[in-house]
Point group: C2
Chain length 134, copies 2
């Protein structure tokens, strides 16, 4: 079985938060949103239906955990969840805390506008807020 | 417990396909894509984490069923899956068969451009292709 390796584009666009039982939890490097990506640590998974039913069940619980956690931590108006993969094929699930009035509201964040990277201090603050609290 | 009723905006924008054990399966009335929405028949569900773990597990399997079915039926390049709900709060999961070169490719379909409704004959043809085959 091939070994899991994070796609280089995901590695470039995100910051490592922590590993959960199935998924690597990443923070998108865009200070305008609290925006996570869950990447199941399974080599060659592209579509949700590529996973085994057991992995899918675990993934759904990690998606719910991330969504509920972000909702509580951020007071988001709505959680947006998406698995697109048109550009980066490796299976990854976006979990985004959306707020009424954020730059893309009420449209999707995907493809809206270029990311605005965290400053080093913003990044440390955001990681401190998220790690171990989701 | 409140009774499930389809949100009027979803009812207006879609065509009924069939009911699965948990979800109502709808076809978005946009002839440019094969685009489904799964609506768990649970009153007042807005976020995935509002569902019980058992319902979430069932929903994940229905999402995988829809995605694998669309992939086989359409030869899609990629399945896009999303739960947004910024405009229509009732929990609904989009499953879209994307093709390289479709009008929104590689961006998201959500918020891209106004739907182009099926003609009556296109609609019947699409429903015939989908019903009982997903």
């Amino acid at each position: 079985m091939a070994e899991f390796r994070l796609h280089p584009r995901l590695a470039a666009d995100t910051i490592f938060v922590e590993d959960w039982p199935l998924s690597r939890v990443l923070l998108l490097n865009d200070a305008r949103y609290v925006w996570l990506a869950l990447v199941p640590r399974r080599a060659d998974a592209v579509e949700l239906h590529d996973l085994t039913p057991a992995d899918r069940a675990d993934l759904m619980e990690e998606i719910a955990r991330a969504g509920a956690g972000l909702k509580t931590l951020t007071g988001a108006t709505k959680i947006n969840t998406g698995a697109l993969g048109n550009i980066v094929p490796q299976l990854h699930i976006h979990i985004v805390a959306r707020k009424d009035g954020d730059p893309a509201w009420p449209g999707p964040v995907w493809g809206h506008s270029p990311a605005e990277p965290y400053t080093p201090s913003q990044r440390e603050q955001q990681l401190g807020r998220l790690r171990g609290r989701l």
